[in-house]
Symmetry: C2
């Protein structure tokens, strides 16, 4: 049993917790014999859900956590005030070497703050960053940073590019992923001060495949594997994408339901449309990793399905097997010594 | 004739120039007897287009400009190197008091640079800003700044809010327009350094209706009349909006054409969908104004239709009649003395 990959999972985080989380954990344990899952959370509530399933009890256990952090709480204060929260308990397991990874669908802010304060950075990493997987016309892109550092420095963005490259090539098996920097034009001289200072660093870095700038307009078309930016810009990309899509679909739906004729039309297009939109389902890619920590911390959506939870858990196998942490540490060290 | 509102229009700017521009100018002159339009551009090419129409020749004249600035040229260099370009000629007319406004569908960068260097700022305005009209679920919002200043200062964003308020209430006749600052969360303590420093300035300003932050997700839903941000963030909002919508429509179209059944459905929904999407047609709102200049400079889309050009020209009537320039100067002065 000593070779099992050990994953702590926040059983209390998200809209459908603990039900979907527990179901996802059971699915993962039943699918892979290589993992051991620890569900952190209220013993009684989690047990009640677990009792619904058949699974290898040696590889799926509850670690009691008496507190829960909500989305409404101030992340840093919550992490400080609730040391027995399901997030803090899970992240301490990673810190103490009792788990290789931690997955949560709870408060993004608290998971991030806990990641930095409890799990801790890999030596040499300036700032851990949240990498989101966003759907595109071609598949997906990794957008870094989406939530950790709003006023980022050029050296941080360079590290995002390096860490993202290691992550994508080892976990998603994309060879030589293309890195671009989010910008307001394709020309090298464009951009704000951050972009202009970061551009030459990315260009000079030998362990990434840097291809220049990407305009926001080309993000949905999948014009880069990895997009680096500060967390303020990353949040705008992410939220505009969500907002534009949801607003448009709302209006399209209203149009389809507006007349008898259009309602019939809607019935006829439904299947094709559904089929097409499946390509934008990113839940199969697992969680959004927080890059640069001493252990994998990944965030699943607040409304994550059991399937998404399962994928996020299974993702940890490659993370551990391919020694992402060691590879990041080495890349960062080399770049540092080259300065 | 001395009371006519005089508008210089770049006849050479945009994909459909001079044809659509000239047509739009003719439409405007025929619709309003209050205006006089000067078409700046190649005399011969413009004359050829003009000859196709019937119009009051006293109120629609050509001002010859021998050069054209393309989108590929470096804006500042082009403005410097091509003093007889249709943009520079039109902007000089505003500077010299020969025109009240200038409208162009040409290079946004060149129009902006020329606006600053040739037309010049209203005294007290720190930096002129490009305000884009973006379509929303509720109508439209004014997004400032979309292209002028990427590394903006808090005081600039405050002025954007003031100028946008004057513009919207006088030109678009929206009473007491709601101002919000683009942010990554609704809470006051969220945001990058720029947002955190700007927030209290907006809160303390008595001549705007400040309502706090807006997340990018809520932008497409029209959660603010005026959204202020630096031009880097504004560009991301604008381009993500465009990119997400165009990518989604591309895929929806592909889905509709994928089977015989869906093709029939597409025919049935076409009319309702088209009707619904009309609400997102922002060309009726005229051009994107560059706020803070001594005269109105407005940018229409590169692919502007004659209708958009017409609306942009007619928009200048209210701009002049309501003395936007004087109102901006007064608001800026008052705020300055209150410091």
């Amino acid at each position: 049993m000593s070779d099992l990959i050990r994953i702590a999972v926040d059983a209390m985080g998200g809209d459908n917790a603990p039900a979907s989380i527990v179901e996802g954990a059971v699915m993962a344990v039943n699918e892979s014999k290589e993992i051991m899952v620890y569900l952190t959370g209220d013993q009684e509530a989690v047990r009640k859900e677990l009792d619904k399933y058949t699974y290898d009890a040696d590889r799926l256990q509850i670690v009691h956590a008496s507190e829960v952090i909500t989305n409404e709480e101030h992340p840093a204060m919550a992490i400080h005030d609730k040391p027995d929260s399901s997030i803090a308990v899970g992240e301490r397991m990673v810190r103490d070497g009792k788990a290789d990874a931690f997955i949560s669908g709870g408060s993004t802010g608290a998971v991030l703050v806990g990641g930095q304060l409890i799990v801790g950075r890999i030596r040499g990493v300036r700032r851990p960053a949240l990498a989101s997987i966003i759907p595109t016309d071609k598949g997906f892109s990794l957008l870094i940073d989406c939530g950790a550092n709003v006023d980022a420095k050029p050296e941080q963005l360079l590290q995002y590019a390096q860490m993202g490259t290691i992550y994508l090539s080892n976990i998603m098996h994309i060879q030589n992923p293309e890195v671009r920097i989010l910008n307001i034009g394709a020309e090298e001289e464009k951009g704000n001060a951050l972009v202009q200072e970061t551009f030459p660093l990315l260009k000079a870095c030998s362990d990434i495949n840097f291809k220049g700038s990407i305009e926001a307009r080309d993000v949905p078309y999948g014009a880069a594997d990895i997009i680096v930016c500060d967390a303020f810009a990353g949040n705008i990309v992410l939220k505009m994408y969500e907002g534009a899509a949801s607003m448009l679909f709302k209006n399209i739906k209203a149009a389809l339901l507006s007349t008898f004729r259009s309602k019939i039309g809607a019935l006829l297009i439904k299947k094709s449309l559904k089929e097409k939109l499946k390509q934008f389902d990113i839940t199969k890619y697992g969680g959004a990793p927080m890059l640069g920590l001493r252990g994998l911390v990944a965030k699943v959506h607040g409304n994550a399905s059991s399937k998404e939870v399962k994928h996020a858990i299974l993702q940890c196998i490659d993370y551990k097997k391919n020694d992402i942490q060691g590879k990041v540490a080495m890349a960062i060290r080399q770049e540092g010594s080259a300065d």
